[in-house]
């Protein structure tokens, strides 16, 4: 009987330790990229380009929300605008400013296409991402 208790205790101890270790070292990693950073990976991976990381904070200190979300027609949906380079070169979406006169031109590919390959389309650190997929979001932080 004693050995049985000891054995169950040992296995439980192992389980508890692994849980504790996991909780401590997986979840103490604080968010690293900025709140509201949007990864857009509709076509990038397939085209063997890095996904685009759009930093909301950088743009909102320079432009009101309305400039992109009303004037340029960006929907409030990550990856929902189906932006491709042809549209940008035609002056739509990012191309409204990224034309070499207001902001850098499309020839600076890797300034926008700077994400880690394979990162899925997401709003980084959004409430939904945190609540729905905590394990995945901490992995992408």
């Amino acid at each position: 009987m004693q050995s049985l208790i000891r054995r169950t205790l040992m296995s439980r101890m192992l389980l508890v330790w692994s849980l504790v270790l996991a909780a401590t070292f997986v979840y103490t990693r604080p968010a690293m990229a900025e709140y509201g950073d949007v990864v857009i990976n509709n076509y990038s991976d397939k085209a063997e380009m890095r996904p685009v990381v759009f930093p909301h904070w950088f743009h909102r200190v320079r432009f009101a929300c309305k400039v992109c979300h009303a004037d340029l027609g960006f929907k409030f949906k990550a990856g929902g605008n189906e932006i491709d380079m042809l549209k940008i070169i035609d002056g739509k979406y990012c191309g409204g400013c990224h034309n070499g006169s207001i902001a850098w031109s499309v020839s600076n590919c890797n300034l926008c296409h700077s994400g880690k390959p394979g990162t899925p389309t997401q709003v980084h650190e959004s409430t939904l991402q945190e609540l729905a997929t905590p394990a995945r979001s901490s992995a992408t932080k």
């Binding site: 909780a23 070292f25 968010a31």
Partner: protein, 233 residues
């Protein structure tokens, strides 16, 4: 016998739970790297059930709990430069050319909860710390600000919500919200916190870019008017 084993189990559990948190609190950086390697990817799926039953140490609870919970301590924000931010590819040469957030954030007013970016963007705009263009081609264009607040009375015990058009029209155009997200008519917009958290109504922006819904009191800001109504004890 069964009771005894349970008792021993819980005693052990409490001792075990307190030990690593203390270690993590005293020596976070060097311990983290080595131990993270020691617990491989398989640790991630089993991690979520761990923090739920016991409420162990505050330091650990803050990190383990959903950051949505406003009562939990939030990990300090580090605002790392782009090559270290975890989303961008550090092997990309151009990543290093991007502006680090702290260059801008240093001069901006902080928000109380330290949630979201940790920046109070409305105050930053009001104080003139940032001057975002209203028109991409015309630096002198000014927003058409509408100063009208809408008070909404939630069904529960939470304070009433005051929606200020003023702060919203300083950033946004009417067409951003009306009529697709909010029907411009009193009583026509049913909403609840679950829908907002799932990204509808206010949640289209709040919880993604604008301050997160965990800062309850920034919206639920007006005490309930309950003077004569309701059952008296």
């Amino acid at each position: 016998m069964n009771h005894l084993s349970k008792l021993i189990y819980f005693a052990l559990l409490s001792v075990l739970m307190s030990a690593p948190a203390a270690i993590a609190a005293t020596a976070p950086q060097p311990a983290k790297g080595s131990a993270a390697k020691a617990t491989p990817a398989q640790a991630a799926p089993v991690a979520s059930p761990a923090p739920v039953p016991q409420q162990p140490q505050p330091a650990m609870a803050g990190a383990a709990a959903s950051p949505f919970n406003r009562l939990m301590k939030v990990a300090p924000r580090r605002h790392l430069p782009p090559p270290e931010d975890g989303l961008r590819d550090p092997t990309n040469v151009e990543t290093a050319l991007l502006q680090p957030p702290l260059e801008v954030y240093a001069s901006l007013p902080k928000s109380q909860g330290d949630l979201g970016n940790g920046i109070n963007w409305v105050a930053a705009l009001n104080d003139g710390k940032i001057k975002p263009r209203w028109d991409r081609n015309d630096p002198t264009a000014e927003p058409m600000v509408m100063d009208m607040s809408v008070v909404r009375v939630p069904k529960g015990t939470m304070p009433d919500v005051v929606f200020p058009h003023k702060q919203h029209t300083e950033w946004l155009d009417c067409s951003n919200c009306h009529p697709a997200i909010f029907v411009p008519q009193k009583g026509a917009n049913q909403m609840n916190m679950a829908a907002i958290i799932l990204g509808q109504k206010c949640g289209v922006c709040h919880g993604k870019v604008a301050f997160p819904v965990s800062e309850c009191r920034r919206c639920h800001s007006q005490p309930k008017q309950v003077a004569a109504k309701g059952p008296q004890p």
